[in-house]
Symmetry: D2
Subunit: 437 residues, 4 copies
């Protein structure tokens, strides 16, 4: 029985590129084969519970704009009504996955025990809904940033009791994720950072954070959770500086704490932009470093200096992202989570549908274009040819350690090496990309 | 015999804070003791050869504005005239150190052999000048970015011959630095990065760069060079993305290539800003990671998106930088290199003096203020107290590995831990800083 | 009778630069004469009601952190308790002025009539407090951005009823300001802008905004309000684009709607930074255009892309701001309003005091330094001399219209004019500034 | 007779979307009708002489990378060889227009007279080439920024002789543009701004700039030049602050100097981005203000803080630009000038062709998509409906001045107006755009 929240909408259908039905897919066709795999299995879409069902439409200059029947009170029964609507939307969109924080889904308790009880009750409710609908959990996570106890950090808090509370909370959230068959578990250290160095000891906080993550990894193995542990980089906001700044920073952190083979990254477009990177940079870097896990799909307004978390709509940009992902072999446990929120003026239930439909269609077009780029191979071959000089024996000696700096200097002097530059062909390659998008 | 370039200026003297003589120091007093050490030995100032003597005053929209007697031709005799003026300025300022790239000091040759001969000739000339003046070399470096052969990178070039040419060139520059008794050797990978990912293989280029740096470190040990090898982080410009993005990125790179105990960082204020960090962040992070080496002192215009390399003039900001440095024990082999250039409208020889005098005075005030902050200890004690809870046995168990995630969760549940936030006191601490500056 | 909110603190005293009492002024000494005027009369400090008493410590990732006795309910009696504490703080700080929005001070009503009644009741309460304490109103304003009715703009809303509601609300706020003897009335168009051009008609919205402002100006004259009408520029946030982008944009808007002699600007440091300008740029530009009114004093974190509204603490920067103000003759009806909020971790009542004390001391030091710069006159004379060539008859003809382009071309050709550049002396001038700060 | 610079390429042909020939158009088809007009007549493409033929591939960290046969010496005969190649490229691309600065096309003379003679000689050469090829001049301009005499500004220089030299130079450039039948004349005030306020008098410089522009407008009328005078906004770079910051700033400047009906704007994508705006914002604003003239088409790298001047390649973004232009009625005298330069690693002549082909194809796709958006009208109707409430009599009274603020307040109070927000439908509208691109 439907809640009626979305009126008579039950299932968004694929109608093809010529459709002008705003409640139909024009490009996302779950069963269509792309590079030998169903589109759904490539993209592994997930809906983010927080933005779509918990966020109220506030911003720093104004409060709630949305009116949702579950907003009036933080009770278990309204939490279940929210879940009913959420799963209706997952089904309507045909989204195979969803993601959540504990605080999105359960009423806030007076203490840890009550939080845990509330979470367990809602997890049981979700488990039944997953079974009924076939929708699965891409990842779970703990909200370690909204409650005022975390204002100075969770794992990196100067107060060890906050560390303890956070650790205990993560335990319950991994338990929940494990129980719900989640494919990954994510840690976003939204307040693991600082507001001012004047009151901060960077080294202590790094030690705390490294210990925290090791506790999590140990626990995962202990309980037999097979999902991937993911860290989500972001450079700042709400903090002045967040320790998980970007992919390169997270890599160094993992390496320092012996975790580079245990933990991967969940990369968000908006966070990449805030850190001064393109999305595809972060994706390709994570793959080069062997820590690529999953993506949070959204877009940032390029003229805004904060995380705008908009639904993606630029196909050429998304194409470069999926091209990076496909070149690296695609997702394993990861997927495409829409960590995107409605504009706060998009008040109506159908806006939730429009936004996700548009996002899914954008991703589908981008995936198809990226697949053609990979299959065609023109660009990949161009890149390989550009580095082909490294296949000569002399070049190999420089890389494999058999030549020292002096040996190389002798070689240059004796052979009078005087290399001439060759065109980088950037515009040519950009034109080739435009063949596909 | 003076070149006469600076007229009758021979030595800038300390005249104290009340002086209005624009050609005197008001705060920098080399022999004044600060925390038990001469100011000169704390600050270890160096003049950057490139900005002060090789840069012509051009920008992307216009060419040379400066008229220097050594600009008309790229000859050895004019290179020596340039050196004469340079050492006159080092002496006039009482700067104990200088820094240079090969390309700043020697005429550009037609090939590697000629470059090497030219460099060797000028190194002999410098050696005599160092002996005559007592001025020392803080660091040498190779310019691996100006010549068109490096347009696509040096160590990370797709053409192995460029790698070879760069490696050979670095060998000659380390040799030069070693011969001149340099305290450090710096690598700034200005073009070690990419313009477009479409023609780039990140993983290959990382391998090349890691190999290159290992070659350098091996060579350093082989010839017995005792100076520190330094990498200078910068996020971009001229490249779209530079691999040595910031301190955290460099740390990860060093760790990946087994170099974290061999190589340190030379941190520049302007590069920190471009990477989205405060200068003090990069300094404190490098110290926390054990890779702090030296600094390039300048400032970036906060409203400009490129590296403006201005002389520092904001004492409160510089105070936070020297506070970070002093807290970490001060410089060892490193120092304060003015990687700052005149504004291109500052045409006259005396502008070079004004700029350095202002920069040295700013640093001297900042050092004295920072020393007071350290000696007074109010802020340090505040920070220690903030983390004091971690000294309890229960807290220590969480950090030392004796407690698992489950243990912690039990502790929280059983003791009903419900931590309350405490004021971070940021404004209070900022007010305390303002007592000193 | 004190509320006890600030414990036993009743009045912050000036104790001089050597004081280490965190609850004393070290530089702000209200009666000290600067350029022939009391410091208090120069700076005309105001406390912002909203940040200090209405803001709860939330950010986009977490809610209220502060606990204030007036937060639990939005009632008239708690609004009065809030006012009691506010006026205690104004007195404790010796702040001669305060500023408020209607929504800061009165309970939110169910409709316009209730809002108006609530405001009138609180205005009566404020009037008595002003009389009792001598504290005055620098400016009043209407909050046309927090309530969800304004989510799409107030004056620029596509719905004329919102325009009407906003206009009616402004009327009540001007009435309140008039009654309380306010020196100015401010309009900050926080949501007068757009989220997407796709649903926006720029021309219509400009017409609406111009009309709205004309209505306000007409009403001011009608009721005999002698204060200045001020617009506060900001480029964005919460909107993607705000129409009052910066001083230059506001000037064009005023000119277009015939208001350039009726309305001035209230310039905020943080908003200047967000628009890509230095604070002193906006100040000097407003003075050059004849529309300088008042300032909102705060600082933005240079590494954050949103409005951080921190208390000012950098004396050299603030000196350039007050230098611009003093050169232009100082404030008339305007003043220095601390539009700055505590960091959300600064939980305690004394943090409110520390923050304002630090801000007031910073401004006092900056004012004194700026006054010395003006009195000394070195820089002003340097600038005058730089343009002295324009005093020749030939130069004047070019400016006064007596020479045409052809005349000038003939002059250049005939006299073979070939101007040579002269040093801009930026570093020299920056060093002079450092004599004063 | 061909110079052979482009090998055997003589004319780039339209081969349709399926072509994989990198030297063919896939979307730009000059004679194809779009909204009743030839594509060529809509887009009015122009090649920028400076980037394609004068720029040498340098950046702040390295010099010339390109090797062009006309680079070795600044002589008239090489200037003519350059012109031969340039016109060959205009013809090969089928570009109907080109644009130039004086300094791009003529050898630099020792003084004004020699500059003028050189320009006149090359103008005669261009005139014959225009006649022979049918290529026309979109606009001419004077380079008032590269020569060191302009380092402190041209019209805004403190030295009136520089003002005079600049004015005389502009006269010769308008004469040249007039003679060559140019459709517009552009002023880009690249150094009309400041490096530091410490040596700057904003008011004087504004007066100078206003006078300068009035001289230009008077001269235009005197000689009967019918083209449009255009100002090109840019916020900064090379200056710290440029007076023609953005469209809104230029509008205020024009209004202040009585020029708002005489001068329009040439808007560049990259400059819009640097000023914190989207390209479409600047376009729509210029149209709303009645000063839209022409565009400089390029793109800026969103992660770089300087003007990267890349060829456009993102169709959805360009679509929003052409949508703005088409809604406003399209170009009159203006056009689409590729103010875009090759990446400095794109060394080869064919890179010039690839870059322009890609740019022209991107614009052609964008134009076609924009035309469909206009013809379809879905979005335009949506916007009109959103503001439809303003058509009621009560709403009109608020706008036409018949209602005062008090009247409106009475209306709100009496009718108990309590407006409810309506969805802004941003995601829905973005999805509609994606139907067309």
């Amino acid at each position: 029985m439907s809640t009626g929240f979305f009126g008579d909408v039950t299932r968004i259908k694929y109608e093809g590129p010529e459709s002008t039905n705003p409640l139909a897919f024009r490009h996302y066709n779950a069963d269509e084969m792309v590079m030998g795999k169903r589109m759904e299995d490539h993209l592994r879409f997930a809906v983010a519970y927080w933005h779509s069902f918990a966020w109220e439409g506030g911003d720093p200059f104004g409060g709630r704009t949305f009116e949702r029947p579950w907003f009036p009170a933080d009770t278990m029964s309204l939490a279940k009504m929210k879940a009913d609507v959420a799963f209706e939307m997952f089904q309507a969109l045909g989204s195979p996955f969803y993601c959540f924080h504990d605080a999105d889904v359960r009423p806030e308790g007076a203490n840890f025990a009550e939080n845990t009880r509330n979470l367990e009750e809602i997890v049981d409710y979700f488990a039944r809904k997953q079974e009924a609908t076939g929708v699965k959990l891409l990842w779970g996570t703990a909200n370690l940033f909204s409650n005022r106890r975390y204002m100075g950090g969770a794992a990196t808090n100067p107060d060890p009791d906050v560390f303890a509370f956070a650790a205990a909370t993560v335990k319950t959230c991994i338990d929940a994720t494990h129980k719900l068959g989640g494919a990954n578990y994510v840690l976003w250290g939204g307040r693991e950072g600082y507001e001012t160095l004047l009151n901060t000891d960077l080294k202590r906080e790094d030690t705390q954070l490294g210990r925290f993550l090791n506790l999590v990894v140990d626990y995962k193995h202990k309980i037999g959770f097979k999902g991937t542990i993911l860290i989500e980089p972001k450079p700042q906001e709400p903090t002045k500086h967040q320790y998980d700044y970007d992919v390169a920073t997270v890599y160094g952190f993992l390496k320092r704490h012996g975790l580079e083979n245990e933990v991967k990254v969940n990369i968000e477009q908006g966070h990449a932009i805030l850190a001064g990177h393109s999305f595809e940079h972060e994706l390709e870097l994570a793959q080069a470093l062997g820590i690529f896990g999953s993506i949070d799909m959204n877009r940032n307004d390029y003229q805004s200096g904060w995380d705008t978390d908009q639904f993606p709509n630029n196909v050429p940009e998304m194409t470069l992202a999926y091209y990076a992902i496909l070149k690296g072999g695609g997702f394993t446990t990861g997927g495409t989570n829409f960590d995107a929120k409605l504009r706060r003026q998009s008040l109506d239930p159908e806006d939730l549908l429009y936004a996700h439909i548009g996002g899914m269609d954008t991703c589908a077009r981008a995936l198809k274009a990226a697949a053609k780029m990979v299959e065609d191979g023109t660009i990949i071959r161009h890149v390989e040819k550009r580095y082909a000089g490294w296949d000569t024996p002399e070049a190999k000696k420089m890389l494999d350690g058999s030549h020292s700096l002096s040996d190389i200097a002798d070689y240059v002097a004796n052979a009078d090496i005087n290399p001439q530059p060759k065109s980088g062909r950037q515009e040519y390659l950009e034109n080739i990309v435009n063949r596909y998008v």
